[in-house]
């Protein structure tokens, strides 16, 4: 056993667009959060996009089309990678403030996936704080954006939802099945041949 058995998860896709009804000129950063058994073999773990403005039509979309292309190597599905997206934009005073945090798991089945992840921001702990944060344009932020990929300590925070981010993933996996993890639904993995196909053939 020279090389340990691993499986690979290849994720490509893009953070396509966002809907932030109240805000404009937003850029985003993404991080990947994954467990200890995971390793990024290629691709960027973090990224920062361009600043995008709203479209001028009814959809009011903020489009980035920011590509993600990363390959993971892992031995255990535990700690499946999560994509943490956090958006920033400049506020009234021109300072950059957080506009939303969102997280989603990399889809666990191969194929094309389109996700719409809701975004939220931590709320100030008090009204006074809220005012000062607005006044000084220092919105509360997470100490580390990756905390939203974990459950620990979330109970102390209060958040407000801000918008949505649309993400598309294309996931390819290798050797999952070899390690005994079957992520495909049965009707995909096993070809379902109608029963009468064989019989008619033989009859004929």
């Amino acid at each position: 056993m020279a090389s340990s058995s691993v499986f690979l998860v290849m994720v490509s896709g893009q953070i396509e667009s966002a809907e932030f009804p109240e805000f404009d000129e937003i850029y985003l950063r993404y991080n990947l959060h994954y467990g200890q058994d995971w390793l990024v073999t290629s691709g960027l773990e973090e990224g920062i996009s361009q600043v995008a403005k709203k479209s001028q039509d009814d959809r009011q979309q903020i489009v980035w089309n920011f590509p993600i292309d990363v390959t993971f190597k892992s031995t255990n599905p535990h700690g499946w990678p999560q994509l943490v997206v956090h958006c920033y934009g400049s506020d009234f005073w021109g300072t950059e403030v957080s506009r939303g945090y969102g997280v989603c798991h990399i889809p666990i089945t191969p194929g094309k996936h389109k996700l719409k992840i809701p975004m939220f921001v931590p709320e100030s702990s008090s009204l006074l704080q809220k005012f000062t944060s607005w006044f000084l344009s220092r919105r509360p932020e997470y100490v580390d954006a990756r905390v939203i990929a974990r459950g620990e300590g979330r109970e102390v925070t209060r958040v407000r939802s801000q918008g949505f981010v649309n993400i598309s993933f294309n996931v390819i996996m290798k050797d999952m099945k070899k390690l005994g993890y079957d992520v495909l639904p049965s009707d995909v993995s096993t070809v379902n041949v109608p029963e009468n196909v064989g019989t008619t053939a033989t009859e004929a």
């Binding site: 056993m1 255990n76 704080q129 000062t132 997470y142 300590g153 925070t157």
Partner: protein
């Protein structure tokens, strides 16, 4: 048809002439010319007519043309294109034929003016005309063609220009007109001459016409807009005839028509010029054509308007166009025959064409900056400039203006011309690039193809779609009934079966009602009595029983006779058998007779009651004077035969008496027997009693008189018996059975008979009740009755039908009839889906508003056999207990009332009634009963309950409770053998499998499938390495906390993963189980204790670490106070680049973002002071006095970093050992060594920054882990000694052969945690130098050779700055307030005090009020103090010794033992038990010792270097204050500058806490008089009293004497280990040990210990020196508290003593362990290297 054709022709002509008049299409002149000649040659009249016509129709034509254009725009386009092609081909031919054709056209047109010509001619002419016109144009084109290549669509105004080119399309028309060629040959010359004339005329005409047209247009402009709509409708009417006309040859395309109309218009203009004169002439009489038109055109008026409009439109649509036109006309006017007159316009177009590209170029000029240039490569910015039409249409095609040609093009949707132009540019670009192959985007006229403007002129409200937003849309969904149990018959609501119950409600009849009148009540009573009577009559029980009696009597008699007769014949059994039978008969006779009597009596009473009631009714009727009820009792009397009756009567009585007598006799006989028996018994008893009495009396006498005791045992016995007898109850004498009393019996029988039977002679009564009485009409009744009756009819009754307690239907409200009946007679069908559980009826009564429930009654659920076919009506009685008060004539209900006038008899009647109904299963059309199948074989109501699961029966909770389930099981009588119940039976059976008693198992399992969900067994889980690894990682065991990539298979788990961990575990295990032989038992106990505490704390901490608070999660600015707000506001106005920038705090790096390997510890070594100098140098200096001293000075001054001296000089110096010392500092951390360059002299300046990499264990840079890092930074000062090892003197001067040695001079150890917690360490530190440093001396003391010893005031100092790069976040202090046993008030006080003081000072001063003890309780700090006895050996010795003892207890920072920065304070006994602790434990112990020794002592909370926040000890001796460092045992005066304590926050002792409120907190700047309230603020004072806090310290400590043997053993062991280690370290060389030297050193060590490691015995040094004068000796003793052997080895290794790479060197090693009580050991190691002086 003809008219149409004619008209058209005329149009053509007119247009033609118009064109000519305007002088725009010059070629047409030639066409005109023949026409003109035509007018000349033809009669004047005709010309005048034509002129007139022109005048009238001029406007019409224009209009028509316009309409035409509008109409045919689209088909025309296609056609036009084809035509163009065809035209081009035939062009050659045309040119040939041109001339001739022109000639031809002239006569034709003349004829054309005449609209009345016969048709065949017309046709011909028409074609000729067309031909001619075509030719003209062609000619023009030909001329033009030369310039056409560059011709671009003219300005919009040049409408008139466009038609000529389009004329080319005519050629197709040519083929049909070959005929005209012939006449053309005839007159070429003629036409030419005429032409000239014409031109002249036209010039004039045109000018006039133009002005006229203009005027006209202006007038009609307003009208036009209004009439636009009208126009559109007529347009269709108009054009159709043209197209559909058979005359109009199909070859003539619409374009041609357009052109013709255009020409006509020109003609018209021309004509108009002449009109003033000619027109009047011809005005009186309309021409034939006019007349024709007049009659054939209904739309004349409209057309006129339209024409005007058309004209106007043509001009207003394009405002400039007109001007252009004018210009063209004006230009064209002077020389109308020249086609060249268009030239200026064409050139103008050319200019525009050339203009555009240049403009584009300008936009792309590259002299703008790079960005734009780059962008330009990518971007295409379409210009907004107009593109000439030719370019758009393409070079091969010509631009046409359909509009001008008279086609209707529709109104284009409005689009900004700029936008349109841009789009065109874009498209052109595409075409250019070849991406767009065709020019399909552009129309013939060069503009973008467009559909007509779809917009309406009038705003209108569009129909709003009914549909709402799909998101908001509400879908209607039928209400769904949820199936929650199986109460439905078929399980679901939409069952398959149809089941129906039919409820027939026939009638409700009240047998009593509160509105009953008295008569009613009576009548009702009578009716019911009568009913009874009828029943009884029918049954005739009396007669029946009489017969029976008779028969019985007979058979009894018979039997008796039989017995008597055959008495002898029968044996005993038979006889008794017969007797019994006889007896039975007799009993039955008696019984029957009694029955008969009873029946008779009832009959009779009934009869009497009926009669009484009837009498009462009659009386009542009489009384109230009206009849209320129809009841009528008819009594028929049947007179009986009195004699016969009498006889029968008597006979019966007699017979009865006889019977009774017989009976009595039998009875008597039987009674007599028993009587005699009893009598006998009675008499016996009396007798016995009398005897007994006698005996008793006798005995009493005997006893009384003689008093002798003669009585024996028998006597006693007898006596007893007698007494017993006497005490027995007396039997009552039995009654003697009476004899048959004939008289009384007869009397009673007769009486009975009188009562019960019809008396003899009494007539038999036959009753008949009929409802025949006439009820008195209402008006005849009295008022009360009237009202009552009204009330009755007001009373409404209805019945609700309830199915399963739900109302399913109700009857109509029906009024109560006067006889208190309500008939419904209605069948209510219920389609049911649920199992029928109950069917109930509710009878409601309603008087006026509202209704009251009279009664509720239940009907049984019909049997399956009961169908609506077979069902019978049934009666259900009901009653109500509702009280209804009587009112007027009514009796009420539940109220007492009386009948008639007599008040004797009170009656209370409740409302009662009868409901007649039937319930049955319905039958469908096939006669199939609609009965649920399950009900068919069901026999009880509980069938469905059985079928249901227990859930419905006892609820979900019941199912979970097995007990309940079992109860239900029992109560529902489930068949345990029924397979459908197998589940429940199995569940209830429990483990035993015993079905007999179905009791639940006696345990409850919360998750029954727990075992099934275990994915592996527990054992497997433990054995599997992979699982274990994962588990340990999850538990955050340090070794595995950050284990990456746990393999997917067990076999891939590295084999050695657990070795380390298991070793540790084993050690712990061993620690727990049994002792290690290395250490004595006490130490082991210490370790165990420490482990225990540690585990406890760790557990606690781990729990804490996973609890996050807001600050951990969210970064948020603190709410600023006013000051902060102010400063932040100031920031806005602050300078961007201030002149004096202030230091900004470095940003802390979050642990997560550290990847590792970039963390470094930066050690900046500025300088060292007082580095000891080499002894030889010092001695030399001393011996050679100034000279060499100067040299030293010089050398020190010359270089600090690099030896820049010339080699010669240096060599010389080295050789001569002139150099005092060449120190350098080596920084060692985590086995990384970095050194500075060599300094020079005893006060070198290094100023070097060294970087040591830092790696956190397990790559975990979280604060939790970092604070447990045990590593320390070692700073060692060495002296670099260069040893000349030149063997051969001859080479000296040419070769250098040296060896560099380093001699250890001292070291400084700074734990990593100290750096980590403080962030940076800055200051001058005392280097721990050994007390004796062989071969070295402090320079300051090198006055004389004697003074080799080290002055304690003189220590080597090292200036340092240490920090970590990047700064790591520090752990959050555990904020949790632990539970406490302290008094609440004291705590509050202390908190307030602390808050108040700490707010006064920035930076905050160290204030401690509560500390955490080992049990995680908050304890008041003063409780830690109490005088505690030091070990007995120390009594009477100085405080230094005590301090030394304390300092020898190993120092271990709390963070290392208890990670998590919870500073735990141990009590002194715990401290000594653990034998380790940090500053505060040491300090407390020291303070307590001092207190015991009577020294005033306090604990100082403050900051020191390098420890940071720490605890020191303050003592006062003779008004002098000293500060003690408890960890080192050193004492400083308060004004000592080298004191490591930097600030004092507060001082504490067992009484109080004093906070430092002085402006300064440096020890040397402070006042120490505690009574000074301005300097020290105590916690407890007069206002805040000390509540008398008890110390938690033990009263005294017990010290264990250290085992001496162990100490010597340890000593040996250490020495052995060290020797081996040294040899190991220098394995390349031979290590020799100098025993002699070792001996001497060993002797020295105890002395050193005695002097507490400070002063040195001079003699010893001398001895050593004396012994080894031939050696160069360098060595030192090292002292340390004993913890383990390894640290000792490490320390020795760190000194680098072994590092002499030479075989010649010898070593000396001595180890001494000094025992102090309680296993506190002081270890001394003396190492030295000796080298022979050469």
């Amino acid at each position: 048809m003809t008219s149409n054709a004619r008209r058209k022709r005329k149009d053509e002509r007119l247009v033609q002439s118009e064109d000519e008049e305007e002088g725009i299409s010059n070629p047409s002149m030639e066409g005109d010319l023949p026409e003109m000649t035509g007018t000349d040659s033809s009669p004047e009249m005709e010309a005048a007519e034509a002129d007139a016509l022109v005048k009238t129709l001029k406007t019409k034509r224009r209009k028509k043309k316009k309409e035409l254009a509008d109409e045919v725009i689209s088909p025309k386009d296609d056609l036009a294109r084809q035509l163009k092609e065809a035209k081009r081909k035939s062009q050659q031919k045309i040119e040939d034929a041109e001339r001739e054709e022109m000639e031809e056209s002239a006569p034709m047109s003349v004829v054309a003016d005449d609209g009345t010509l016969p048709m065949p001619e017309e046709e011909e002419r028409e074609s000729v005309l067309e031909e001619a016109e075509g030719e003209e144009v062609r000619r023009l084109r030909k001329k033009k063609e030369e310039t056409e290549e560059t011709l671009i669509e003219g300005p919009p105004g040049e409408e008139e220009e466009t038609p000529p080119p389009r004329e080319e399309e005519e050629p197709p028309a040519k083929p049909p007109s070959p005929v005209p060629k012939e006449p053309s040959d005839e007159m070429p010359s003629k036409s030419l001459s005429i032409k000239e004339k014409m031109r002249m005329r036209m010039e004039k005409a045109k000018e006039e016409a133009l002005s006229e047209v203009k005027e006209e247009e202006k007038e009609s402009r307003k009208e036009r807009r209004l009439q636009r709509d009208k126009k559109q409708t007529t347009r269709f009417d108009e054009t159709k005839p043209y197209i559909g006309s058979p005359h109009a040859s199909f070859e003539i395309d619409e374009n041609e028509l357009d052109r013709i109309t255009e020409e006509k218009r020109l003609q018209r203009l021309e004509r108009r010029k002449k009109m003033p004169a000619k027109g009047r002439e011809g005005f009186q009489m309309p021409t034939a054509e006019e007349a024709f038109d007049f009659f054939t055109r209904e739309w004349k008026d409209e057309e006129k308007e339209e024409v005007e409009e058309g004209v106007e439109k043509a001009e207003t649509e394009k405002a400039e166009k007109k001007e252009g036109e004018e210009a063209a006309e004006q230009e064209g006017a002077p020389k109308p025959d020249k086609p060249e007159d268009e030239q200026p316009l064409i050139t103008q177009d050319d200019e525009m064409v050339s203009d555009l590209p240049t403009m584009m170029c300008a936009a792309y000029t590259p002299d703008i900056n790079e960005q734009i240039k780059k962008e330009g490569e990518i971007y295409f910015v379409p210009s907004a400039a107009e593109i000439p039409a030719t370019q758009k249409v393409g070079a091969d095609f010509e631009v046409r203006r359909l509009e001008d040609e008279g086609f209707y093009v529709g109104k284009r949707p409005s689009a900004g011309s700029r936008n349109q132009n841009r789009m065109e540019h874009r498209l052109l670009k595409e075409i250019e690039k070849g991406r767009e192959s065709s020019r399909a985007w552009f129309g013939e006229d060069g503009s973008l193809l467009a559909l007509p403007d779809p917009l309406r002129s009038l705003p209108s409200r569009p129909p709003m779609p009914e549909e709402v937003e799909p998101v908001l849309k509400l879908d209607y969904k039928k209400a769904v009934i949820r199936e929650f149990d199986s109460r439905y018959i078929d399980g679901t609501t939409e069952g398959i079966g149809h089941y129906q119950l039919d409820v027939d409600l026939n009638q409700v009849f009240f047998t009593h009602h509160h509105l009953y009148s008295k008569e009613h009540a009576l009548a009702q009573k009578l009716t019911s009595l009568y009913e009874q009577y009828v029943i009884r009559e029918r049954k005739n029980m009396t007669a029946y029983l009489g017969e029976k009696l008779k028969a019985l009597k007979n058979s009894a008699l018979h039997l008796q006779d039989h017995i008597a007769a055959h008495k002898s014949e029968y044996n005993l059994t038979d006889r008794s058998n017969y007797d019994r039978r006889l007896q039975d008969y007799r009993a039955e006779i008696i019984q029957t007779r009694q029955q008969r009597d009873r029946e008779e009596k009832t009959d009779r009473t009934l009869l009497r009651h009926i009669l009484a009631t009837w009498k009462a009714i009659k009386k009542e009727r009489e009384l109230q004077t009206f009849t209320n009820t129809p009841v009528k009792l008819q009594i028929r009397k049947e007179d009986g035969n009195k004699v016969e009756d009498e006889r029968v009567w008597k006979q019966e009585v007699l017979a009865e008496i006889e019977e009774l007598r017989d009976e009595h006799e039998r009875e008597y006989r039987r009674n007599m027997l028993t009587y005699e028996e009893e009598m006998k018994r009675y008499q016996n008893q009396i007798q016995a009693k009398a005897e007994a009495q006698k005996r008793v009396d006798k005995r009493r006498k005997k006893i009384g008189s003689k008093q002798s005791i003669r009585s024996g045992a028998e006597d006693d016995e007898q006596h007893e018996k007698d007494l017993e007898l006497l005490s027995e109850a007396d039997l009552t004498p039995p009654d003697e059975p009476s004899h048959f009393d004939d008289a009384t019996v007869r009397e009673s029988v007769e009486k009975k008979a009188r009562e019960n039977r019809r008396r003899p002679g009494e007539p038999k009564l036959h009753l008949e009740l009929s409802n025949t009485a006439t009820i008195t009409p209402t008006q005849n009744c009295n008022l009360d009755e009237q009202r009552r009756r009204a009330d009755v009819s007001k009373c409404m009754i209805f019945v609700k039908i309830l199915f399963n307690n739900k109302e399913v239907s109700r009857t109509n409200m029906k009024p109560l009839s006067q006889d208190f009946k309500v008939s419904y007679g209605q069948i209510y069908s219920m389609k049911i889906v649920q199992w029928p559980e109950s069917i109930a009826f509710q009878v409601h009564e309603s008087i006026g508003l509202g209704s009251t429930l009279v009664a509720e009654l239940c009907a049984p659920i019909p049997d399956t056999s009961v169908t609506s076919v077979s069902v019978q009506l049934e009666d259900l009685e009901f009653s109500s207990d509702r009280k209804e008060k009587l009112n007027r004539a009514a009796v009420g209900s539940g109220m007492p009332f009386t009948y008639g006038s007599d008040n004797s008899q009170l009656e209370i009647l409740m409302t009662t009634g009868i409901l007649t109904y039937s319930v049955a299963w319905a039958v469908d059309e096939h006669g199939q009963a609609l009965v649920p199948p399950a009900l068919v074989n069901a026999n009880t109501m509980f069938t469905h309950m059985k079928k249901m699961d227990p859930l419905a029966a006892i609820g979900a909770a019941g199912v979970m409770d097995l007990k309940k389930l079992a109860d239900w099981f029992a109560s529902s009588h489930l068949d345990p053998n029924d397979p459908s119940n197998a589940d429940i039976v199995y569940l209830l059976r429990g483990k035993g499998g015993d079905t007999s008693h179905l009791t639940p198992a006696e345990y409850f399992r919360l998750e029954q499938l727990m075992v099934e969900f275990d994915f592996v067994t527990q054992q497997e889980l433990e054995e599997n390495k992979r699982f274990r690894l994962i588990q340990l990682r999850d538990e955050e065991v340090q070794e595995f906390k950050n284990y990456k990539m746990v393999p997917a298979h067990e076999r891939e788990v590295p084999r050695d993963v657990f070795t380390e961990y298991e070793r540790k575990k084993r050690e712990e295990q061993r620690l727990k189980s049994e002792g290690d032989h290395d250490i004595e038992t006490q130490r082991m106990a210490v370790k165990r204790y420490r482990q225990k505490i540690r585990d406890q704390v760790m557990r606690r901490f781990r729990r804490q670490a996973h609890m996050k608070n807001w600050e951990d999660m969210v970064k948020e600015d603190m709410v600023p106070n006013i000051a902060l707000l102010g400063t932040s506001l100031m920031k806005v106005f602050a300078r961007r680049t201030p002149l004096k920038p202030q230091r900004k705090k470095q940003k802390k790096v979050v642990a997560q973002s550290i990847k590792g390997d970039e963390v470094r510890i930066i050690v900046n070594i500025s300088r060292a002071q007082n580095v000891p100098v080499r002894l030889s140098a010092a001695m030399q200096a001393g011996a050679e006095s100034n000279e060499s001293g100067n040299a030293l000075w010089r050398s020190g001054a010359v270089t600090s970093r690099q030896d820049t001296r010339p080699l010669e000089q240096r060599f010389y110096d080295d050789y001569k050992h002139i150099t005092m010392v060449r120190p350098f500092v080596e920084v060692m951390f985590q086995h990384h060594c970095i050194r500075t360059s060599v300094g020079d002299g005893s006060n070198p300046s290094f100023n070097e920054e060294l970087e040591v990499p830092f790696r956190a264990p397990f790559d975990d840079y979280s604060p939790g882990n970092l604070q447990t890092v045990p590593d320390a930074v070692f700073l060692n000062i060495f002296d670099e000694v260069v040893v000349d090892i030149q063997e051969d003197d001859r080479e000296r001067g040419r070769m250098v052969h040296q060896r560099i040695e380093k001699k250890w001079l001292g070291s400084l150890k700074i734990p990593f945690t100290t750096i980590y917690f403080n962030g940076k360490i800055d200051g001058t530190f005392r280097v721990n130098a050994p007390p004796v440093l062989l071969g070295y001396v402090y320079e300051g003391l090198s006055h004389g050779p004697d003074d080799i010893g080290i002055n304690k005031d003189l220590k080597t100092l090292l200036g340092l700055f240490i920090s970590i790069q990047p700064p790591l976040t520090q752990p959050e202090p555990v904020k949790e307030r632990f539970s406490t046993n302290e008094d609440e008030a004291t705590m509050v006080q202390a908190d307030q005090w602390k808050e108040q003081i700490s707010s006064r000072f920035t930076p905050k001063r160290e204030l401690k009020t509560f500390v955490t003890d080992v049990n995680f309780k908050s304890v008041f700090i003063t409780r830690y103090f109490r005088p505690i006895n030091p070990p007995d050996e120390f009594t009477g010795k100085g405080p230094e010794l005590v301090a030394r003892y304390v300092s020898l207890i190993p120092f271990v920072p709390d963070a290392a033992i208890f990670p998590g920065l919870c500073d735990i304070w141990n009590t002194c006994d715990q401290f000594l038990a653990m034998l380790s602790g940090d500053e505060e434990e040491h300090a407390i112990l020291l303070v307590n010792y001092f207190l015991h020794m009577g020294i005033k002592a306090w604990l100082i909370c403050g900051n020191a270097i390098p420890e940071g926040p720490t605890a020191y000890v303050l003592t006062e001796e003779a008004n002098v204050h000293y500060i003690w460092n408890p960890s080192s045992g050193e004492r400083f005066r308060t004004n000592d500058a080298t004191c490591p304590l930097r600030s004092i926050g507060c001082i504490v002792n067992n009484e109080n806490i004093w906070a430092n409120i002085q402006p300064y907190d440096k020890p040397d700047q402070m006042m120490y008089s505690l009574t000074e309230t301005s300097c020290w603020e105590p916690l407890f004072n007069n206002s805040r009293r000390n509540p008398g806090l008890q110390s938690i310290q033990p009263e005294r400590l017990y010290y264990l004497q250290t085992d001496k043997d162990f100490v010597t053993e340890l000593q040996e062991k250490i020495q052995h280990v060290l020797k081996n280690k040294v040899m190991d370290w220098r394995s390349r060389y031979i290590t020799r040990w100098n025993r002699h030297c070792s001996q001497i050193m060993r002797k020295t060590l105890p002395l050193l210990e005695e002097s507490l490691g400070k002063s040195v015995d001079q003699d010893h040094i001398k001895e050593l020196e004396a012994s080894f004068s031939s050696y160069k000796v360098s060595g030192f003793p090292i002292n340390m508290p004993f913890t383990e052997v390894d640290p000792i080895v490490e320390t020795v290794y760190a000194t680098g003593v072994h590092g002499h790479e030479s075989n010649e060197i010898e070593f000396a090693l001595a180890v001494y362990v000094h025992p102090y009580p309680n296993s506190v050991l002081s270890v001394w190691v003396y190492v030295a290297s000796l080298m022979k002086n050469r």
